[in-house]
Symmetry: C2
Subunit: 195 residues, 2 copies
């Protein structure tokens, strides 16, 4: 099937599958078309799906006691997304996941995820590399949060995710950077004056 070329290419970056393995893998995915601004995972639900984003864009975030949002990550086409801790440990989700625009995702259930490793051991390697990348990316974010001021973090964000910057609201960017929308507005004004 044509539409699965993208995800197969994603996997082929790290491991090689036989024709049968590819077919098996695709057979355990569930195809979902999701309109924009749809919540596909809410806090408290059991998170039993790992989503590959075929097209579109999504966002995961959490709420603190006061109702303040923090964006955990933005995810676009060809990325994987879930509440990883809760997916792996089958705990009620601590996060929300919603579409930013109309999206097509392929879901892999926790059950199929677990069995995939016995059916096709090569996937251990694939997900090892995926987790490595996620870990090192997350660690870099920690360091940037600790060492940089909001203004510098904002410019690095624009630089790292230029496609995202156009799709998401500034409120969402602010909540990713850990600042208020008002403060971000000030940063942007400063930039405009310079141009």
């Amino acid at each position: 099937m044509e539409i699965y070329n993208l995800i197969l290419k994603n996997i082929n970056k790290h491991i090689t599958l036989t024709r049968e393995e590819e077919e098996h893998f695709i057979s355990i995915l569930t195809y979902k078309e999701i309109p924009k601004r749809t919540t596909i995972l809410a806090e408290g639900q059991i998170c039993n799906q790992l989503s590959y984003i075929h097209s579109g864009a999504l966002r995961s975030y959490c709420l603190d006691e006061g109702g303040k949002e923090s964006t955990i990550m933005f995810a676009m086409a060809d990325w994987w997304l879930t509440d990883m801790y809760c997916f792996l440990n089958e705990k009620p989700s601590m996060t929300f996941i919603e579409t930013i625009e109309d999206s097509i995702v392929f879901n892999l259930s926790k059950n199929n995820f677990d069995h995939l490793f016995t059916a096709i051991p090569g996937f251990e390697r694939f997900f090892r590399i995926l987790m490595q990348n996620a870990y090192t990316r997350e660690q870099l974010r920690t360091i940037e949060n600790l060492t940089l001021k909001a203004e510098e973090r904002y410019y690095r964000f624009l630089n790292k995710y230029p496609q995202m910057a156009g799709k998401v609201t500034q409120k969402q960017i602010a909540s990713y950077l850990g600042i208020t929308p008002e403060f971000l507005s000030g940063i942007r004004k400063k930039q405009l004056r310079r141009e």
Copy 2:
């Protein structure tokens, strides 16, 4: 060898090795005794070792342009530690790693790490799970840094790493929390007054 029981138990939590596999794995480790306050990795060096900490405690940190330290992680007995990004990509290290106390570590070189996966494919699974845990831990830290005030982060740190709290200086704790030692001192004073 008696001394390798701890690391084998660590690995056995996630995968099962045959006797020969255990022996092969141990044979590629290099044993190191390191006195306290020794830098085992400096910024700019190629980081080609992944360290398992048999005993003792270590810390990894980075320096910004102004020379300000940020502690990336504290690591104690039975933990794995390296500059993961630079280890995996064979880049010059962006971080420093130093012993906090006299330590014994077993080093796995990048070369042996790479070959380990073909020699004993089960290690793909082991390191997948290791990376998963590192990733989800790091993501939790990001969220806490974004949503919590320094005081609350300090108490969670004490709670999560009670053994560490006694071993490291407050300057180091402050640099892990992303605050100045002076500000941490103020937080501690507040706590003392309450008791």
